[in-house]
Symmetry: C2
Subunit: 533 residues, 2 copies
């Protein structure tokens, strides 16, 4: 498969920060050249991986360089795994590269949480520390205490380590993946690369359609960011889409298959319990989580407790063998502001807190998924209760969308809630695109969704006083005050767009470096007048 | 001039609510037809005026019907005014209709505040009450106490009365107007109609370029919503753009001219004082308000106090004769998050509070303009101090933008801050478009800016528990849960867009009324599965 290469942003180049503890740690950052004597460049966090390295040779059929393999193998606690994985059958686009799965040696726990608790600062932790401008031991402590996770499956050595935690930069996730109705492997791989190009810190492959496994293989092998999934989607496909036919065994085998492929975190709806079902009946919009609805139906058919809850210890055993992280799913998240913060939602949240402790007992990393649709006045309660019930595990929220009737613009209704909950301590924001509630997003939607959630994340970081957010913001304001238009374009989230929006409005022949824009014209520019004073 | 007629939204028709106190009050609302037995239609607030009345005959050369003339004249306190106004000279597009200005009879105060304080429930107040689902006497009390304004110049009888106050629906303003570099009368009139089409509650004509007066005449005569201006822009044009040549007399004559034309509210930067100038020097981005910068420069040139401050009593005398409202401008608003909530900003806010009391002593209505650029963690302080210093007068904020580096997407950075400050009690949100900081907005930008700020306003109303916001939201969620796609489209802010986004992704021949969308496909739709349980 051929793809147009990912181009770097204008005026930027990739540089690498060297590790001090681990000499083979090289952390990529984007260096933006500025025409400011006092600040000739600004280095910013960069998720784009080798794609934007002018010197890298890329071949999506072979996947990215496996930068973590020496670290993973070097720790001596993993071994070539029992190969549950099977190549995609009947799929015309099998991934041509070779991927030999690893798993933990018997008695070993190759998780970042286990290392952190043992006092080890891993290369992954140092990588994160350099990216975030933090002390490596601070990173270790945050991981040890469960306040942050480094989603980094030992079978995804291509992944550049990153952290999700409220004392780190706020991250965003982009969902990709096909449904039965649309989209193929190539489109999904393109969407992943596109999402990373615009700044997605992680991607979730939510495919429910054809070739789920093969699509995922292409994505993981080429993704420089952690990849998450919801394994119950594939498990359900395996049993022909019949919810009643789902079994623990089918789910378990799917989970192991995905662990072997290298999925870094899994949404697991283990908190959707039989006892909570009566609480859902009071709702306007019932259950709106796909996983939650599947499990609710399964419990009804079998009159049994959720098998993800009853087999949770076994789930922990599996995830710990690969250092896959739990993203404990909010299967009962509200699907309308009417249902926000109701008994069903918070009953599940409390259950997730109990499961968090169980996972931590296995040294398995955990984050908690959050709503959904929540009006502005009810957002804080969500964050407060999550911290309380889930013992400080990172919060990963979808939006929240602050109104229900924003269809067509739900990326904005989500960005509003996301900025607010981010400023209160949510660690990762799941993006929402303009097509939310309407259709699967196309590439333009993916970009739009990412950028507005990058804005939300940056707003949250600024509110929390993160030094990197303040530096970037002040650099932009200074460039604006000094009419350095080229620098302003470069410091925005989409330099090409900001340049086009301004320059398209200039008259032919007008100097684009003029000390004004068409908003106020030359005589009414406040900043120009101020500087004359 | 010919314009394409403004079409109504699909599935909607205009109906009128009759006044009980005043039989000639007819309040337009948009009635959205729904296929829901329990709620066959939903009536929503409608700012579009006669344009979306299928029975109205429109002629932009004559202007809108003057619905308020009988009320204004009937009160017996106005008289044909001394005609300061002069038709536009040398302008090729003079407004052909006739407009004979009125002003107060000697000793009379034809302002809504004066009437309210005397216990009169005017037709304007009843109009507002019906629009907002409130008791007319509640409206009167809010106006009497200065907590709300009804901007309704006696020379803008075409305007449908509306209220700006924190106990009313949150309003949004759209800025239009040309600069020296771009845009003509026709474009600005089209922008006004376009802004109203998408839901702007007021428009401000910020023109600084050619034909300021004639442009404004076309806009006011055809605007069903209040029109605001910043008179110092035209005053400066009159003295050839030389700040040093500005005089109180030139400003006063301009203000009277605009009062006679029918401008409903004026941004007056009377709080930019000599004593505050040293505070500005500490800033990263100085003064970013055009009016603020002009006055700062004027004070420096003349070494005198701001003439708007020293002549404030005379300003009150002028505005009270026409029931024009003050929008006390924040000339020292921060232009970067770095400068937010600084001494300069709050010193001015306090000064505006003092001026508010002076205006109220004249029965002149007042609102207060607010920032600007403010990070999320500093928004609440702005609202709290505005309420405290300005004695409960309505707050009218620009954004605030919660980050500085969002150029190209500043409509979103603004909508985030606007939703938050709206939920805390800001009465009107000034929109920001995607071209903010880059260029004058085009029609697409105007629409985008309005819609995301309508979302912010709705999010604020929902957070405040406004019954109309809750009803609309729940109607949407119920339609979503029941897969009533047509109803969903109709309930969104842009029905055509939401329909297109969904239906473009359907396969040819697929039934658009299907109980699923391409996000999840038919087998993974959570709401469908839930309903099967």
């Amino acid at each position: 498969m051929k793809f147009s290469p990912m181009t770097s942003f204008e005026g930027s180049r990739k540089v690498y920060l060297p590790g001090a503890l681990h000499p083979d740690v090289r952390v990529p950052v984007r260096e933006i050249a500025l025409s400011d004597d006092k600040m000739p460049f600004l280095r910013v966090y960069d998720v784009t991986g080798p794609y934007t390295d002018a010197h890298a040779l890329m071949d999506v059929g072979q996947g990215l360089p496996r930068l973590r393999t020496p670290w993973i193998v070097g720790r001596g606690d993993v071994t070539p795994g029992p190969q549950v994985s099977r190549p995609g059958v009947g799929c015309h686009a099998r991934f041509p590269g070779v991927h030999a799965p690893l798993s933990a040696k018997p008695g070993c726990t190759p998780t970042q949480m286990a290392y952190a608790r043992r006092g080890m600062v891993t290369p992954e932790m140092e990588f994160v520390a350099l990216r975030e401008g933090l002390d490596p031991d601070f990173v270790r402590l945050e991981v040890a205490h469960g306040r942050a996770i480094i989603p980094a499956n030992i079978n995804h050595p291509e992944c550049e380590p990153m952290a999700i935690g409220r004392n780190f930069l706020t991250k965003i996730n982009a969902n990709i993946g096909n449904s039965a109705l649309s989209s193929g492997i190539r489109e999904e791989l393109e969407k992943m690369l596109w999402a990373v190009r615009w700044g997605a810190d992680t991607v979730m492959d939510l495919s429910t359609g054809k070739d789920i496994r093969t699509t995922r293989e292409w994505i993981i092998r080429n993704s420089p960011v952690p990849v998450g999934t919801v394994p119950i989607y594939q498990a359900l496909e395996k049993v022909g889409g019949k919810v009643g036919d789902l079994t623990w065994e089918a789910y378990r085998d799917t989970l192991i298959e995905q662990c072997e492929q290298g999925v870094d975190y899994f949404t697991v709806h283990a908190g959707v319990l039989q006892g909570f079902m009566p609480l859902v009946k009071k709702r306007l919009t019932g259950i709106v989580s796909r996983g939650g609805a599947i499990l609710a139906k399964w419990m009804q058919i079998h009159a049994q407790e959720n098998f993800l809850y009853t087999h949770f210890e076994e789930l922990c055993e599996i995830l710990k063998a690969y250092d896959a992280a739990f993203s404990l799913g909010d299967g009962l998240r509200p699907g309308s502001t009417h249902d926000a913060n109701d008994e069903a939602q918070f009953a599940e949240l409390k259950a997730l807190g109990g499961l968090t402790r169980k996972a931590w007992a296995h040294d398995v990393q955990v984050m908690i998924e959050g709503p959904g649709h929540v009006p502005l006045n009810k957002i804080k309660e969500n964050m407060d209760l999550q911290l309380e019930h889930c013992h400080g595990a990172p919060f990963y929220t979808l939006g929240p969308l602050v109104i229900d009737m924003g269809a067509g613009f739900d990326h904005v209704t989500s960005a509003i809630g996301a900025a607010v909950i981010g400023s209160l301590g949510t660690a990762m924001l799941c993006y929402v695109t303009p097509r939310e509630h309407l259709a699967l997003p196309d590439k333009d939607d993916v970009k739009e969704g990412i950028i507005v959630h990058k804005i939300a994340a940056h707003a949250a970081d600024l509110a929390k006083g993160h030094p990197m957010a303040i530096t970037l913001n002040d650099a932009m304001s200074k460039a604006r005050y000094e009419f350095r238009w080229e620098d302003q374009y470069r410091l925005t989230l989409d330099p090409e767009r900001s340049r086009r929006l301004r320059e398209a409005s200039l008259d032919a022949g007008q100097d684009p470096s003029a000390r004004c824009c068409t908003m106020c014209g030359p005589d009414f520019c406040a900043m120009k007048i101020t500087q004359e004073i």
